[in-house]
Symmetry: D2
Subunit: 397 residues, 4 copies
Amino acid sequence: MSVSRSSRPEGAEPRVGVWLVGARGSVATTVVAGRAAVTAGLHAPTGMVTETSLFADSGLPPLSSLVFGGHDTVDCPLPKRAEALAAGGVLPHGLPTAITSELAAADREIRPGGPLPGDTRDPDELISTFTADIQDFVGRRGLARAVVVHVASTEPAPTGSDLPPSSLYAAAALRAGCPYVNFTPSTGLHHPSLVSLAGSVGVPYAGRDGKTGQTLLRSVLGPMFAQRALTVRAWSGTNLLGGGDGAALADPAAAAAKNAGKERAVTDTLGTTPEGQTHIDDVPALGDWKTAWDHIAFDGFLGTRMTLQTTWQGCDSTLAAPLILDLARLLTRAHEAGLTGPLTELGFYFKDPLGEGPSALGEQYAALTAFAERLRGRARGRRSGEPVPEHAGEANL
Amino acid sequence: MSVSRSSRPEGAEPRVGVWLVGARGSVATTVVAGRAAVTAGLHAPTGMVTETSLFADSGLPPLSSLVFGGHDTVDCPLPKRAEALAAGGVLPHGLPTAITSELAAADREIRPGGPLPGDTRDPDELISTFTADIQDFVGRRGLARAVVVHVASTEPAPTGSDLPPSSLYAAAALRAGCPYVNFTPSTGLHHPSLVSLAGSVGVPYAGRDGKTGQTLLRSVLGPMFAQRALTVRAWSGTNLLGGGDGAALADPAAAAAKNAGKERAVTDTLGTTPEGQTHIDDVPALGDWKTAWDHIAFDGFLGTRMTLQTTWQGCDSTLAAPLILDLARLLTRAHEAGLTGPLTELGFYFKDPLGEGPSALGEQYAALTAFAERLRGRARGRRSGEPVPEHAGEANL
Amino acid sequence: MSVSRSSRPEGAEPRVGVWLVGARGSVATTVVAGRAAVTAGLHAPTGMVTETSLFADSGLPPLSSLVFGGHDTVDCPLPKRAEALAAGGVLPHGLPTAITSELAAADREIRPGGPLPGDTRDPDELISTFTADIQDFVGRRGLARAVVVHVASTEPAPTGSDLPPSSLYAAAALRAGCPYVNFTPSTGLHHPSLVSLAGSVGVPYAGRDGKTGQTLLRSVLGPMFAQRALTVRAWSGTNLLGGGDGAALADPAAAAAKNAGKERAVTDTLGTTPEGQTHIDDVPALGDWKTAWDHIAFDGFLGTRMTLQTTWQGCDSTLAAPLILDLARLLTRAHEAGLTGPLTELGFYFKDPLGEGPSALGEQYAALTAFAERLRGRARGRRSGEPVPEHAGEANL
Amino acid sequence: MSVSRSSRPEGAEPRVGVWLVGARGSVATTVVAGRAAVTAGLHAPTGMVTETSLFADSGLPPLSSLVFGGHDTVDCPLPKRAEALAAGGVLPHGLPTAITSELAAADREIRPGGPLPGDTRDPDELISTFTADIQDFVGRRGLARAVVVHVASTEPAPTGSDLPPSSLYAAAALRAGCPYVNFTPSTGLHHPSLVSLAGSVGVPYAGRDGKTGQTLLRSVLGPMFAQRALTVRAWSGTNLLGGGDGAALADPAAAAAKNAGKERAVTDTLGTTPEGQTHIDDVPALGDWKTAWDHIAFDGFLGTRMTLQTTWQGCDSTLAAPLILDLARLLTRAHEAGLTGPLTELGFYFKDPLGEGPSALGEQYAALTAFAERLRGRARGRRSGEPVPEHAGEANL
């Protein structure tokens, strides 16, 4: 897979915003630091599919045109957070220092999230504040548009009809007229009270729950067993991770949301639900590094019992960051091209994708390839000056 | 993946031959025993893709229409060989007894292979003898046609211009006008002196080296890394296996042939050749069970070093047997349909497939799906009485 | 480790009883079948430490002198149970048929356990019935003595002061004057109301929770880290198993009892309790086969983070059975030699050993070696006709 | 295992030398950097057994009394080498800068090794030069004594009678009257022409081939199987490592020397040699990090086939460095105490230990414990002013 610049010349480009909900977390910090590192030529854009030849001439905004801001409920400044990540082996040593001005610039655009304990504002007040924060960002920085990306810690599955925090932020994105990406299993736009709003606002959106490690693997192994007509009897898994994500997922309610996505990948690709459980253990000693062990018991010809075991050792933040940069660029371009509603072609990026698309990674990649071609067609039309017709059917691709 | 009968009614079918080179080996014995077990309803056709809905109405010969024979250089009768496999956990206990008459029937159709030590026949005499054996089998048993499938132990890579044994059998298949499948990494039809003969005879053929375990896995993992733009730095592997295959592959020359195919899957799907070696160790204690460990070191965003390890524990004979039954049926049907030359659509089944087809399993499955559809079209033509045009381009599909 | 017969000539030996609580379970069936197989010369005594040179001349009862009986609440006859185990790969195929008379003989000595649902007998009535069953067995079969071994499914940790079933059987053993072994984590003798009885009856006893797989491994890995002054940060584990044990341990209360023992091995050998959890998953597809994965994160010099992972794939019943035969012989001999109270030298066999003995396997083996030598001394005394002094201190060894 | 200072007060101590052969390699650099880091209180002495309570009051020289020098054939200065190790994750980031003066001080005491290509000096001239280098170091720095520790890359097994380089350095150590440790599988003192010299010089020595990872694990797993009377059928292993050691061991002759030690641990602890091979693969992408996979196939009761797999991921340099500091202190103290000849009590540290000591780690630890006690006795004698008798039998302990 050759890596090539896919974007238009920089000088010609308007600047576009990326508003990160959870802007001081490991993932967001890695997004900001990683963009700076790649733009400065310090690192190759490894893991960014939008930097491969697949997206050549698709009209994506250049990486350098992205401007970062966001919400968070904690105070730790991004440069300090980046140093902590470097100490834990998540970011390369020396990188935080090399790009400290970019970290500081993003840090200045972070506004207080909520609600915090003791907060007396009602949901509508919170949404209004969040919306105003985003609009202020876009206006003050002179941005052509901004994408809201949810990367805050996984929240417990909601138990009542109240809007959980992730949905407050999602509502603000809609009110501000921004494309929206939910990279977590939290509720976000998936709340009954947001359905009609999402339909009427006319922005593209994508989600949910980024597919970074164990589920990525499951989305190629499941199809392998299915295509070979082998019978999977049991699929068991254990995830060990520390960091904030480990602690958040030690809450059984949060873990349940996460595991639903993991198990969906198995069920959808196999066509049945095998025996077995998936555990998520909080192991602070591992920091942001995750170890995922899967044990798959399957039957071959004549009922012969066989097994496959996999052990994946990765860093979630650096697995997630390039996907988030991809999604920010794709949603920006989709918005520019007039696409609206759920972008079901982006199932490649998610554990629990919107719509009825394929669950096998290979087919998801084919859908992404078709999406890139669609964007390319629009980009050609734009350059040639021909009008690109927009109608309802096409708006959802 | 629902499993459905794909074949025409049995009564209407002519009988077709499956001539196994290496007919007394573990794989061939499992093929004969497995067909009998499935036909008798003792076991589901797990692992047979031709029994899934993919091949519904493709006109494949029913499993029950297959008649087995073959060549081998050893004497152990099939019923006895099957008992040994059952003792080693390869065949279910009790199965050899339940299907002893089918084993005995196949055993009666096994003719001496060669050359054995001290054999004074020259290559042409051997080819003539093998050809006559196959023709006698077809004529005496009243078969519509027969497929020759090479499943003998891997032979060392040839060092001179002499035809190695696998090529003698392949030449005999051509002379007898039979479709041919090379399920091993041995030379078979890949010998310079057989190229023009293969072109002139007008039979379909397929190969080589069945993709049963570690390489199957590599053919889904390689594309995963490539599609996610992750950089694989090193891919190392160790295979432990006993049985005849373990002993044959303890010969470095034989192992070299095998490993070339395994490493090709990595290189072709990644687009580069990473560091790392692949070992094949003979461990008699493991019998026909194979354990394959792979260690993949890859770089993510910002150069973060991550790893994936896989451990595959399978029984090679029961992984191979359903694929061989698939291939025998597919080649029979292709021959009947007038297809000739290399069937490049069958890359799904092989480590080192003929032609320039895709190396990712998902794409190979798509090619197989198209092949099934092509056969279905011809089957419809046949049933409707319409002539099915045959021309050169289509003959190779 | 050379294997040698450790027992006195058979003709000279009285017959001794082994009363199995849970006599129709996988473990008990494997004990009865395995003894018969070894005695008949069909299999080597692999896994039996009492058949190694360590116990030469220690005066242990010969294997052939053991007579089996027991309690159970289910009805499935032992020969049928053994066939099911052979079908699942736990017992060798053909073995149940070869030793069917021994299975039937043991089956005739199994009496109904309890309490069953609807049972109106109070604890004392149940204990009396169980005691009478054991005494009838000893008397009717003319046994010199009998050992009671608890191998029933793990029961939930008791929540009140009532005697759980395992304690009813333990009380019966005491009343009958029998040595007692608790091979499970169930309460057994560890109930406050049994303490004084155990002290007054004057029989030897041992337990608890046989150390067969993951904990066996932990009891050598923990000392390795400690002796090398490496700092274990986290020790996480997942156990996958089917069979009755998997189902019983799917009950969180039962699993808690089991895990306490597993984690004790880690804490005792390391001297600290590292982070990490241990899971036990019921995976019926695996039958009696267990897969245990452990992930150990440790720090080396200068805080370098390293890991060790282990995957153990074993069959619990065949791991347990030779240890139970060992224990039955050792307790028989200890009783004969006049030893009473907890046999703390037998920590080698248990996850959660009685007393304050060492938790490192190597030291436990040294203690077992000393115990063998002690028995040898008494055996010499017996043969020479010299009196062997018995006093309190020594009675507990 | 509590960690406590084991040494005498610093002010009272003479300074002692540690002369490292291969002084600019990863291991030596980690030794020098690690001593400085621990002495400065920057890191705990994790992995150093001599800092545990085992060696309290044994009279070992304090860490701060060690002065480093050595031979090497390459020029890269230690501070630069340390920076490269920090970039590869072997040393903590920031450490090289923090202790740069200690690195520079050791670097000034490194003298050219040999022979280099084109060197016309004969063996005796080389030995004389090396001896003079060591003596100059001891005299100029006013050292009470110096230990020579061989940590150079593994050399191929010698094929003729010529002294390989490792033996030239060993001979120089003897001529200079220094205690000697061979931490590699190279020949060193194990050359026929050095035997009588070693006997006459009267210094203690130890070796060979430090037991850091896979073999450490084997030395606890082998005894586990043996003590449980389980039959190991096959023990297979693959080591992946980059760095200088990976490249050196890619030479089959060097790997053969290494593997002999690894397999000896298995054979000695099991009492038999199971099937299986051990591979060492050079994988530059892994740098100084090693992954070692072991697959152990064993039989349990009734011939049930089971497996244990282990995956060890460690950094060889940081595993080796604390052991080398231990050995330098132990040999210094042994020399001071008048011990001579092979220190067979130090088998705990080596893959292929001198003499006929135990091969199980637990027994080796017991021997080390006894050695610590012996040193303690002498230290008490020294403090009390009583003469400590020295005679031949004791000289070898």
